[in-house]
């Protein structure tokens, strides 16, 4: 998105916000919102690194007092916008009433309470969406069932002799193999420019991962023949506006470049590739092993791990056993496992994320359950007389139960939707903050599905007791008529 469309989009949002907020909350609230909007815009511009120039900055900063003064001068009169609830309960007073509208209006009758409850549910679902998506992103990487990995038995940071590669390749049941080294790469900024850079053997890598990388024939050829060639995934190329043929310096926070004594290597982009959704290579930046191996100052002729394909997933266990037996009692013992298990053990280095997710999200939902449940019970208790009137008019107890449950469900779904939207935003920011190296962070459909189920369950659980109390409510007692 270029800076003009970016600014236009913000102006459009501002106009929409003006239209919406002058309808529901004229006055100081609009000004506060507008200020927030401008702060957000400026933050986004700074964060995205868009250089809009000092003139535009001046215009933008000038716009804040101008618009506010303009609003105050031409503010609608109190008669046109009489004091009202933050959310107008019955926006169209000419409309007919029905059960769904009754549910909505009842929920909106105490707008402050509803907003606070929605925010607390929002926070729970924000936590859930972010943490579970994060967990899924690092543990549920899609790989072929016959893809396996051989690495040091000690842990994945220990390297193996390159001689192991040929031995693994010629093990019975191995179809194709390649080897990879962790480069510890980043672009420009060590914190924000982190990238998962791997030094790979081009020929064997492109064979083992031929179904994972969508690459042009020309990019393939260049990567096979140019020592300084670099392959980058689409998300990272887009992030840095890289194009094919561009020279890119990449730093390593592990290795030193023996040719210049620095931590910087120069590369030329040979191609930009795409991968299927959720693929293990979706964020991999690839450099050539020979260039890497010839220029590093230590750890030469060692490889990080060997990735290989078996002839069939059914022989995985036999092949793994054969490889690990072969290197048993050597100086570099190995551990061979399928790629999915490897990814999980890699994630486990970050700690027991599943446990953290369960504890944090569990605590959040337990708190929400108590808060929303108690508040809903209070809300129904406040309306005891109205429930009594509805029953007197002939509304069945079942219908009233459904209406109260509908209210708690609606509240829960509103909070969950807002929470998931916020989670999507946070995940978007997270995936861009680390330089695209973990660009797989997004809201997974499975997380949305589980969230919907939790939202419905939360709505039911928090609403069931007040709904049952309304169901059982005796008319005489509700109306105090004895």
């Amino acid at each position: 998105m270029n800076r003009i469309t970016y600014l236009l989009a913000h102006i459009l949002l501002g106009v929409l916000a003006f239209l919406v907020f002058t309808r529901v909350a004229p006055g100081p609230l609009f000004s506060a919102f507008q200020l927030l909007f401008f702060i957000l815009s400026i933050t986004l511009i700074i964060w995205r690194g868009i250089n809009i120039g000092w003139r535009n900055w001046a215009w933008l900063i000038l716009l804040i007092p101008v618009v506010n003064v303009g609003f105050l001068l031409f503010a609608p009169s109190k008669e046109r916008f009489p004091k009202r609830n933050f959310i107008e309960i019955t926006p169209d007073r000419s409309t007919t009433v029905d059960d769904v509208r009754l549910v909505r209006w009842n929920l909106a009758r105490n707008s402050v309470r509803t907003i606070l409850l929605s925010v607390s549910i929002l926070i729970a679902f924000l936590l859930f969406g972010v943490l579970v998506s994060f967990n899924v992103a690092i543990t549920d990487v899609r790989t072929a069932p016959n893809r396996m990995v051989t690495l040091s038995k000690i842990n994945f940071t220990e390297s193996l002799p390159i001689a192991y590669f040929d031995r693994v390749l010629h093990t019975d049941g191995v179809l194709a193999a390649t080897h990879m080294n962790w480069f510890g790469g980043y672009y420009q900024d060590q914190r924000r420019g982190f990238m998962a850079v791997f030094a790979v053997d081009p020929d064997s890598y492109l064979r083992v991962y031929q179904d994972d990388l969508h690459l042009t024939p020309q990019a393939r050829e260049t990567f096979l023949h140019e020592r300084t060639a670099l392959l980058v995934p689409r998300n990272i190329a887009d992030r840095y506006h890289w194009r094919v043929g561009q020279h890119i310096p990449i730093n390593s926070n592990i290795f030193t470049n023996g040719t210049n004594g620095s931590h910087v290597w120069d590369f030329t982009i040979a191609g930009i590739f795409e991968t299927p959704d959720g693929n293990s290579q979706a964020n991999s930046v690839l450099i050539r092993y020979d260039y890497f191996n010839d220029t590093i100052t230590f750890g030469r002729d060692r490889i990080g791990w060997i990735s290989f394909l078996t002839t069939s997933a059914t022989v995985n266990d036999r092949v793994a056993h054969a490889i690990d037996t072969r290197f048993a009692n050597s100086q570099d013992e190995t551990s061979t496992q399928d790629a999915a298990a490897f990814n999980r053990s890699f994630a486990a280095q970050l700690g027991n994320i599943a446990l953290v997710v369960t504890l944090v999200v569990g605590a959040a939902f337990a708190a929400i359950l108590l808060i929303v449940g108690t508040t809903m019970a209070l809300a129904v208790r406040e309306r005891t007389k109205e429930v009594g009137v509805l029953k007197t008019l002939g509304f069945s107890s079942g219908r009233i139960l459904r209406m109260v449950l509908g209210e708690s469900m609606l509240l829960s779904l509103i909070g969950a939707t807002l929470g998931l939207l916020a989670a999507a935003g946070v995940l978007y920011i997270l995936s861009h903050l680390n330089g695209g190296g973990g660009g797989g962070f997004h809201l997974y459909p499975s997380v949305i599905g589980i969230s919907a189920a939790i939202a419905i369950a939360l709505g039911l659980v928090t609403g069931i007791l007040p709904a049952l109390s309304a169901y059982r409510m005796n008319i005489i007692e509700a109306l105090g008529r004895r």
Binding site: T90, V97, D99, A108, K391, S397, I475, R481, R482
Partner: protein
């Protein structure tokens, strides 16, 4: 005139802790179709309990209650709810309107229990509000109306589904004399011109004068009966 309501040997007792409190013992009465009956009596005489029994919001301990020749004391809870929706309109002392709804929407509530289309419901609401003289306040919420206007909205809500019986519990108890007379005039009009049978509980002798007859209750027994002059 045929009987709309017939109570025969009705007993009603409440249990408070271990104590049983008898409100009625073998109470019998008849209310004719088109009657406008005022129930008077001191507090605790059983007026409101009688109104609850007539409206099916409470059940007799013993005895029979017939409405239009059918026994309502035998109906299940669900059947009684449906019967109430079709046959009885309620008017309370404190109006009991829903504050989040406009006058028209409050009046529309009983129609949600029918199969009428929104258009037809709107027409019926307009008619009911017109009868009570509040067409111009249809879009106002209860807090934007006076007590008398709110009570007239409650009357419109009670009549909108065209019930045969209107039960009024101290309908003017919260109103000044002039407004009370206006509300009572409306009830009289509904009785006289639309043939609604009305039973009204009141402490106010002036209000009772709007009725065709007055029954005095004391300790669960009718102690006096008066016909309007």
């Amino acid at each position: 005139m045929t009987d709309l309501i017939r109570l025969t040997d009705v007993e009603k007792t409440y249990t408070r802790g271990k104590e049983k409190i008898a409100i009625f013992e073998r109470l019998s009465m008849r209310i004719e179709q088109g009657d406008f009956l005022a129930l008077m009596g001191p507090s605790g005489s059983g007026k409101t309990t009688l109104l609850n029994l007539l409206g099916g919001t409470d059940r007799a301990t013993r005895g029979t209650i017939e409405f239009d020749g059918k026994r309502i004391d035998k109906l299940s809870e669900g059947q009684l709810t449906n019967w109430r929706a079709q046959n009885v309109g309620f008017i309370f002392q404190f109006y009991n309107l829903m504050p989040i709804l406009t006058a028209a929407q409050n009046v529309e509530l009983p129609l949600l229990l029918t199969n009428l289309s929104p258009k037809k419901r709107r027409e019926n609401v307009a008619t009911a509000l017109n009868i009570v003289g509040l067409s111009d306040r249809a879009r106002h919420k209860p807090r934007e109306m006076s007590g008398g206007q709110q009570q007239r909205v409650a009357i419109a809500r009670a009549i909108v589904a065209d019930p045969k019986l209107l039960l009024c519990d101290e309908p003017t108890g919260d109103l000044d004399r002039t407004t009370a007379d206006e509300v009572l005039g409306t009830l009289q009009l509904l009785n006289r011109d639309l043939g609604k049978t009305i039973v009204m509980v009141t402490h106010d002798a002036a209000a009772a004068k709007f009725a065709k007859r007055t029954l005095h209750l004391d300790k669960g027994h009718f102690v006096a009966s008066e016909l309007a002059a």
